[in-house]
């Protein structure tokens, strides 16, 4: 078991901080355990990869509206519960800092150091008008379901978050 390279694939569909934390806690731990880790980011999960700020990509009117309404980057995401218009996540971040827990940006930095692979879903990008230039540089591939499934087929653990 120890010598063969085990693989794990995660789908991050959700764009909330708590779910992203769960995803990256598993990703970093798996990488530390010697797994090859791939995360497929789709729908709201793409927010975790967004650079934030003004988009330079071309967008239709509806996509512009979507971009404006669907805010969020790894530094600023809502919670699934107790969001309280953004006060919840700030309190959670403060609590985590007091407890010396790793924040989402910390975990993401560790994930990259351990070569966790990021794939961004091109279909979700297309619908939401998210351009490659809107995403952080760390994204390894822009791809679709077949790429994910090909990766998932050879992996031992697959999770949808």
């Amino acid at each position: 078991m120890a010598d063969e390279k085990n693989k794990i694939t995660l789908i991050l569909f959700s764009g909330e901080m708590d779910k992203a934390l769960a995803c990256f806690t598993l990703a970093t731990t798996a990488a530390a355990m010697g797994f090859e880790v791939t995360i497929f980011f789709t729908f709201w999960g793409l927010n975790v990869l967004k650079k934030g700020g003004i988009s330079t990509g071309k967008k239709t009117f509806l996509q512009k509206m979507f971009w404006f309404l669907n805010k969020g980057t790894k530094e600023k995401l809502p919670l699934t519960k107790f969001n309280f218009a953004g006060a919840g996540p700030e309190m959670m971040k403060l609590l985590m800092k007091q407890k010396k827990m790793a924040s989402l940006p910390d975990l993401m930095a560790s994930a990259r150091e351990m070569k966790v692979k990021y794939i961004a879903c091109t279909t979700s990008c297309g619908v939401m008008g998210v351009d490659r230039s809107d995403l952080i540089a760390e994204v390894d591939e822009m791809a679709g379901a077949a790429t994910y499934l090909a990766e998932a087929k050879g992996s031992n653990v697959n999770l949808f978050i």
């Binding site: 120890a2 010598d3 970093t28 731990t29 530390a32 355990m33 010697g34 010396k100 827990m101 790793a102």
Partner: protein, 78 residues
């Protein structure tokens, strides 16, 4: 159980999952085969997580000591 000799020490006091495991993996990478790492933590999860990590990565788990609220676990590099 009282006397486990180790070559390196890793202080993970105050740190929660998954940080102690990540740090252990990083430090083990810098060590030589057969060397022993002592990891000191106060998150009780380490007692289960470290043997699981060692088993999966093929490193040796030599045991754990509990001193009040502090846990010391020992890993031998494969």
């Amino acid at each position: 159980m009282n006397d486990i000799k180790f070559d390196k020490e890793l202080d993970c006091l105050g740190l929660y999952c998954p940080v102690p495991i990540m740090k252990t993996a990083q430090v083990i990478n810098t060590m030589k085969s057969g060397e022993v790492l002592e990891v000191i933590a106060d998150d009780i999860g380490i007692l289960k997580d470290m043997p699981a990590w060692a088993m999966t990565t093929g490193n040796g788990f030599l045991g754990a000591k509990t001193e009040g609220d502090i846990y010391k676990v020992y890993v031998k590099k494969k």
